[in-house]
Amino acid sequence: MTYNNKMNFLSSLPLYIERGGGFMDELQLINRAKQGNKSALNTLLSNNYAILKGYIIKMIGNPELSQDIIQEAMLKAVLNINKFNPEAKFSTWLIKIGTNIYIDYLRKNKTMEMISDFLESKEGNPEEITINNIEYQEVMNILMSLTYEKRAVFILKHYYGYKYEEIALILNCPVGTVRSRLHNTIKHIVSEFERKELI
């Protein structure tokens, strides 16, 4: 490990502690997975499946494409597990792989179809359900109108509480760019809500 790597590793430690521990467990699982332990690999992927799924579904808004991208991301993660350097969390790495696969997909396919599905609501009266569905559609439309870079920054920050540094690592861009993208995105979303008189 070089001096810089050591310093990066030490500086990233507080992130794990801050996120409620689980770092040692994950590190042990990663080490076992690198040695070829399938059970450890399975646990590692299962533990991080929900976050990857949620992120990709929100990014894409299309279940079929989401499924393909999640499967490919997991496959790539298994194939390249030995290249994973535990300077960052495993979920960060997994999301980075998923994002790169999605970017590749966007390069190959210029257009993407969003599925206009409705939220399944078990609670509330029909009026509330209808209002929720309208809001859901509006939210998805606003989210999909953003560029993928801005969408990724917003989703990672708003729904998953990632820090600017972690998002910068995922999207491979400077922290300042992440910050300005988030600022612009939120101002845009607020203005869209105002324009559509949703608030």
């Binding site: 992927l45 799924k53 929100k58 989401s66 859901y136 820090k163 910050r179 939120i186 607020v190 608030i199």
Partner: protein, 130 residues
């Protein structure tokens, strides 16, 4: 004026996400309230979920097949390369020194090979058992 308002809004966003210290900032247009209401509405997709057909064990098995195929290709390429190098070295020696060298090399290989191959085989076997 516009720049100041932008800066204030940026500060409010950073504060909202805990990336800046709280400092009771406010703008004339109630940006903080509007932002909080908007972001609360954005939470309608927070738990968005679709049933997906993903089997992690199947993915791991598929990855193993791909890895084995890659390993086989790599080993086959390595074997062919070593064969080509050996054949070309033997050919060059044969060309420069005559056919006698071929017999010497064969005798040397017959004598030395068991001393190399047997320990390696024992080592591989014991590793496999462990």
């Amino acid at each position: 004026m516009m720049k100041n308002r932008d800066k204030l809004q940026n500060q409010i966003i950073d504060e909202y996400y805990g990336e800046a210290l709280k400092s009771c900032l406010s703008t004339e247009d109630n940006f903080a309230d509007d932002m909080e209401n908007t972001l609360a509405k954005m939470n309608v997709i927070k738990d968005l979920d679709y049933p997906l057909d993903i089997n992690i064990l199947e993915i791991i098995a598929k990855a193993e097949v791909i890895r084995d195929r890659r390993k086989f290709k790599f080993e086959a390429a390595g074997f062919i390369l070593v064969c080509l190098i050996t054949a070309s070295i033997l050919g060059t020696l044969l060309f420069h020194t005559g056919p006698k060298i071929y017999l010497y090399i064969q005798a040397a290989i017959s004598a030395v090979m068991p001393l190399i191959v047997i320990p390696i085989a024992i080592n591989c076997k014991s590793r496999g058992e462990a």
